[in-house]
């Protein structure tokens, strides 16, 4: 009896190796705990977003007024549809992933290959959609005036519709001196992108047109942005306006608080990076499946593990969708 069995001295000891505590393999359990810690990272980000939003609860941008684009529908106000489409793409790629895992359980190699292929395509489409969303956000649409305190003043007409800076600006000649090292501090350089119109032009144009009003960042009790009367608008622009801003980056944001843009870039960027790395991992496993690695191994558990990661990415998006676009 002793001669037939090789004993390691760890039989029956759960943590000695070979056994599966909680009936999951080592790899799967570690994937779960990685996901848990990553989930806490994301909830840290979203909690920080919530913190900043509660801090500026009466002046935070309204998502419906920020994300209004849809491909091939230029100029049409389409809030939420695009991001809903992105959500569907990601949920659907989650479905094909779980179908791949299911096919793996039954050792159906060809099915696994096809389902993983669709999952990867879905992931790529999603990352591309996010790039498009970012592009629109960065380029901006209407532009706004920034005040001394870094607040945003947007232009609307009497009907409450937004008016773009180019339409407000008067056609007057304004001289702008270029910033060179010999004139400024040695580390300052001319900005690589400049707005199309200057603050002076916008101001002159606004004063000349009685049909223009200013919409501020502040919010009423009903959750709508405050639109100033004509006199208040003129006073506000004269007293506080300092410059124009078009689009958004980490410092300026035509939609409202720069913090909103910071969180948008950081959270959706971090999520997009997860999607991208998920696509890379999926692709590696996909190649392995094609080469028959798991067929020889007799188990498609690797597909299951990347599947867990992929569903997690979907899970995070569900929350980002709610807190960035809906709430």
């Amino acid at each position: 009896m002793d001669a037939t069995a090789v004993r390691t001295g760890t039989e029956g000891k759960i943590w000695g190796g070979g056994n599966q505590p909680l009936k999951v393999s080592y790899g799967k359990m570690m994937m779960w705990f990685f996901i848990l810690s990553d989930a806490l990272t994301f909830s840290g980000f979203l909690a920080a977003y919530g913190f900043s939003r509660f801090k500026f609860i009466d002046s935070w941008p309204i998502a419906d007024q920020v994300f209004t684009h849809f491909p091939f529908l230029h100029g049409v106000d389409a809030p939420m549809y695009y991001v809903a489409l992105m959500t569907f793409i990601l949920i659907f790629s989650s479905v094909t992933m779980v179908l791949a895992v299911d096919a793996g359980h039954h050792m159906q190699k060809n099915k696994v290959i096809w389902y993983m292929f669709f999952t990867i395509i879905g992931g790529l489409v999603f990352v591309g959609s996010q790039a498009w969303e970012w592009t629109n956000f960065i380029q901006g649409e209407y532009g706004a005036v920034e005040t001394r305190a870094g607040k945003i003043l947007q232009f609307v007409n009497a009907e409450g519709e937004r008016v773009a800076l180019e339409d407000v600006a008067a056609d007057i000649a304004v001289e702008r001196e270029e910033l060179t090292r010999s004139k400024g501090l040695w580390y300052l350089e001319e900005q690589s992108t400049l707005p199309d119109v200057s603050f002076e032009q916008v101001k002159a144009g606004f004063l000349a047109d009685n049909n223009l009003f200013i919409r501020t960042q502040s919010q009423t009790e009903e959750g709508e942005k405050v639109v100033l009367s004509r006199e208040e608008s003129i006073k506000k622009l004269n007293d506080d306006g300092v410059g124009v801003v078009q689009g958004a980056n980490l410092r300026h944001n035509e939609y409202g608080a720069p913090l909103f843009a910071d969180f948008f870039f950081f959270i959706t960027g971090f999520h997009g990076f997860h999607v991208f790395s998920g696509v890379v991992l999926n692709f590696i496993i996909f190649i392995n499946v094609i080469m028959g690695t798991y067929e020889r191994r007799g188990s498609y558990e690797m597909v299951e593990k990347v599947g867990l990661y992929w569903h997690f990415v979907d899970l995070v998006w569900v929350f980002v969708f709610t807190f960035f676009y809906l709430v």
Binding site: V24, F51, F312, T322, L326
Partner: protein, 119 residues
């Protein structure tokens, strides 16, 4: 083998059912987000709009289906489930409570102070 086939069929049926549920919830969310019914916006529950509570509850329901059905949490042992899910839920609730309370406090400080921030 026959048993296997039955199991297979029910597994993919479950996947499509869950996909259907997730889609319906998303459509409802988008619909509510665009329409924004008056009474849901005006009604407050625990200092938050009822509409926002609905969004959060629907999100948690979606998360439940993704974790339970897609990530196969429903087939894991009770110990495994608790180790992952309870840890996350406890820590996230704690973090949210602390940071949102603090954010609201800072809002009050800005709002009630003698300093104007809007210039």
């Amino acid at each position: 083998m026959a048993q296997d086939a039955v199991h297979h069929e029910s597994a993919s049926k479950r996947i499509w059912t869950v996909f259907f549920i997730l889609s319906v919830i998303t459509i409802v969310e988008v619909f509510l987000g665009i329409v924004k019914p008056e009474f849901l916006v005006d009604t407050y529950l625990l200092r938050m709009k009822l509409l926002n509570w609905i969004f959060i509850v629907l999100t948690v329901v979606k998360a439940y289906y993704i974790v339970w059905a897609f990530m196969h949490m429903e087939h894991e042992t009770k110990g495994m489930r608790r180790a992952v899910v309870w840890t996350a839920i406890f820590l996230i609730c704690y973090l949210m409570f602390i940071l949102l309370t603090e954010g609201e406090y800072i809002f009050d400080v800005y709002h009630d102070g003698y300093q104007s921030w809007d210039f």
